[in-house]
């Protein structure tokens, strides 16, 4: 069984890690090239890693196929690597989904005033690359009485918000129940977890960006460069499927703050909203706030005609 697994890992599907591996091996081979292109920090035969870690990452299997011990090793490798590269001692976990919980989100668009506090809380919580300019949440400004997403302004920058005659609609990953991104992924690097969160195994992602073109909500983002976070701003509490350090050439997206919500906390965006416009909870709990909203408010979802079944509702009151 183990043999079969490692054979699968060596298949071209693990292109991303293999590419890095070959690059590093090459760098080690020709010292002159290494001196010219590899920064001093990661210099060394295995890019600063031990040979065991470099091989471990290279032959690492897809998350769902790894045994608990292999996952433990993978988490330890991630922690070691973060410590070596940033000097920050992070904690990488793989908290499992809570049984009987499916997450749902609702936004009260009459309470959203477009402050973008959620956007920056998300950047901070999820270790989003500061120089790679990653943001999971987009707040769209639209004219009142219209809902033309094509004519929404993503870049509004007025002195004060809300502006007269405008309303604001935050868009992020809708954690679809029928996610088109999962169907588009050729290597099954992204899937829907039992608690409804669509997650990505960043190590398994080959960076083909098929999921990005499949997503109708502009929710997926690509790391064109190595995401860099200043050491003092790194959030050390991370999750394997969530906010752990990502690498260049992989896709990422909102994951309902999996590292927080699986421990019972609210997502960072919900906690940051000063207007209480964001309502989060368990769709399977009839007494939850989200269920009250869904049962008592006129809710709608974006692009409902695509049958993606988002678990993300909007309402106004």
């Amino acid at each position: 069984m183990t043999n079969a697994r490692s054979k699968r890992a060596a298949s071209p599907a693990s292109g991303m890690t293999r590419r890095k591996f070959i690059k590093r091996a090459g760098a080690a081979g020709s010292l002159a090239a290494a001196a010219a292109s590899v920064p001093a920090v990661s210099a060394g035969a295995w890019g600063g890693e031990t040979m065991q870690d470099a091989f471990g990452t290279f032959f690492q299997d897809q998350y769902k196929k790894m045994s608990p011990e292999e996952i433990e090793e993978a988490l330890a490798r991630i922690e070691r690597r973060a410590l070596r590269e940033t000097g920050v001692r992070i904690k990488c976990e793989n908290t499992p989904p809570i049984p009987g919980v499916v997450f749902g989100y609702a936004i009260n668009i009459s309470k959203c005033k477009g402050y973008r506090d959620c956007v920056y809380a998300c950047v901070k919580e999820n270790n989003l690359g500061r120089d790679s300019q990653m943001q999971y949440i987009r707040v769209l400004e639209m004219d009142r009485g219209t809902r033309n997403l094509e004519k929404a302004d993503h870049y509004y920058d007025s002195e004060i918000v809300p502006q007269e005659g405008k309303y604001y609609l935050p868009v992020q990953c809708m954690q679809c129940d029928n996610p088109p991104c999962v169907k588009a992924c050729p290597v099954e690097a992204t899937w829907k977890e039992p608690d409804g969160i669509v997650v990505i195994d960043y190590n398994w992602c080959i960076g083909c960006r098929m999921c990005m073109s499949a997503c109708p909500y502009w929710a997926r983002h690509f790391n064109w460069t190595e995401p860099e976070v200043p050491a003092e701003e790194i959030n050390p509490l991370t999750h394997y499927l969530g906010n752990r350090p990502r690498m260049r050439g992989v896709t990422e997206k909102c994951h309902f703050c999996v590292q927080r919500t699986r421990k019972g906390l609210l997502p960072a965006c919900a906690e940051a909203c000063p207007n209480g416009a964001r309502i989060f909870g368990n769709l399977l709990d009839p007494d939850s706030e989200i269920r009250y909203v869904l049962e008592n408010k006129d809710v709608f979802r974006l692009k409902e005609d695509l049958a993606t079944e988002p678990k993300f509702w909007y309402f106004s009151d």
Binding site: R116, L266, G276, S288
Partner: protein
Amino acid sequence: MTLFAGSALLLWAGLVVWSVSLAQSEAEAVELVRNTTPDGAEFWVMPRKSELTYYPCAQCHKLIPPNPEVRKLFSPHPSELDHGDERIWCLTCHDIEDRNTLTNLLGESVDFDRAAEVCASCHMQRHQDWMFGGHGKRRGDWQGERVIYSCPQCHDPHTPTIKPRAPKPPPPVRKGLARPLHPEAEEYLSVWERLESDDHD
């Protein structure tokens, strides 16, 4: 002259009370206020009294005879009352007999920590939404004990409308790309819209 001295004294007393209450709030842990929905579900509300600068109000008011005449008040009271289109004033919500409590429209005394019950006298629908989670903000956890903020913690009861403020910066534009035009710019118009807007016929 006496008026000036009086107000100075009041200000000083207020400062003392404020510093004392500050010291107290630092020492004590926040004690949540238990509430139940009409269905009997339990929820907890963040206390309010510990946030009040001049509480207990009777500290000063025991020296001042109650005056039910509708008038404008001065410091240390809020000078502005932009709530209810002049149909209400201080004593609609503040109890004239027991200065340390509020009062609802039925004339019942309501503790400051249960201020939401005063708001509910007029805003029934909002209050119901707030109790069940359709309005307001929850603190910390999505599961377990439900702790929510009380009305006056977001809305100043004297000027309850949330004031507009500056947004955080817009999303950056990738290096080498131009920032997209405003969606109503000429280039984004459809062919017929562009033809309509031209004066060439």
